[in-house]
Amino acid sequence: MNASSSRVDPVALLAAPAILYMLVVFALPMSVLVIRSFSGSSGPTIEAYTSFLGDAFNWRVIGNTLRIAFFTSLVCLLIGYPTAVALARSKGAVQALLLVAIILPLSVGVVVKTFAWQIVLRRDGIVAAFLVATGVWDEPQLLLFTETGLVLGAANVFLPFMILPIYSVLKLINPNLQDAAATLGASPAQRFFRIALPLATPGLFSGTSIVFSLAASMYVIPSLLIGDRFQTLATLTGRAFLLMRDERLGSTTATVLLVLSILIVTVSAWAVRPKGGR
């Protein structure tokens, strides 16, 4: 707070309706959800969490969530970084085509794409046929209802969220830096690890954190691609509310998921914070 803020700028009032709306319809319900998961019959308690975390099954659910989110982010990072580099280097028609290939799937609904992956991942699907044709597999196998299939489908849906943040950082980098480093005698490896990679880091972090939180909280993709045997925090939350009608469990898993997402966002924001004084 400084002295000038004691007199409210009239322009600031224009933000009031949106802020008020989000406080009442967004912040308040979210806070109530978190608070309710701590309330017991006799005052505040963490009993819901101790019993939740005391169950080995739930630890497996948390493990599933983190493992799937990790591998999805990894696949997206490995494909997304080179693709963003290509997008930043390309011009004209090639760039337009790349952008269409990235933005069109981004804008098409997730139910549509997941449904297509159900077809692609079947035993007689394209992926199985491709792997048999290239000799990776001896005979067709079922990819649907496996973790590999889930990661493939999720990576497909979330890949644009990796490419675009990296691209938005890459296109700001001065291309002459690479030449300058080469002139000064830096080897290609040195140029990559000491110039290209550090400069791209903010994009890599924000892309990874977006994909990780999306993958950790996805609901439709696992329910269509892997089924009920495999539970994540999000699918368990959905089941608790929609099938089991167990709101206590649902509020607890929802809060664990919420804390996880906030943690990811905060850590990645901290990791890419502007560093001053050096």
Partner: protein, 266 residues
Amino acid sequence: MTVTERITAAMVWIIAFAACVFLMAPLVVTILVSFGSSSIFSLPPPGWSMRWYERLLTLRGLASSLGTSVEIAAASTLVSMGLGGLAAIALARGRFAGREAIAAFLTSPLMLPGLVLGIALLQAFRYVGGRDIWLSLLFAHIVITLPYAVRTLYSSLTLFDFSLIDAARTLGCSPTQAIVRVLAPNMAPACLTSAIFAFLASMDNYAVSIFFTNAFTKTLPIQMLNYVEERPDPTIAAISSLLIVLVLIFLLIIERAVGLRRITEV
């Protein structure tokens, strides 16, 4: 160029090409299956037919769920553009403390799990006795679409050179004329882009909607999910193909009006 550099450059292009094929694959598969004559999704299809498109006309619940989705998406986009536009002006032009924090707050639903938001809203609406499904959906979808409006409009307003307004005033425009003739044309592309993305986000949402629908009122993604789970046949592919065409039309509008490259800047 050294050999290493050539190899890396080639690798980058190969991966980028593979990524495009990977990204487009589900859309191509959907469209192929929707025109196939087989009901078991065989690829390539044994023959071609329009029967799945003809079945759309008789499919129960499709028209009403599409209607609900379009109504909710249009209404929530409209409200969000209003609320978000005013907030964006305040954030870009106002001189007050905590503007970044407010911008972060208004866009935060983008980063939080939709399912958690849905549950929180379900409990809140139940608490205040809100039983109307349409209104509940609308209130919930405004929370989903508002971040898109604020994010895009705020970032393009910060890029707008407001001295142009002063210049227009100096050249004899009234304040209204200056806004209509200078600010509005400059902001139109950002408005269009954010409105389309808000609309699509609402049309595609299931994580929040799933808590507010019942047997009679469903949104399109929920209805489609029901079809997939109950009786998967290429009719779903036909619906999906039509949605892909719809998105393609929207993107063409953006490309003509703004250029797709602008989308990546917001």
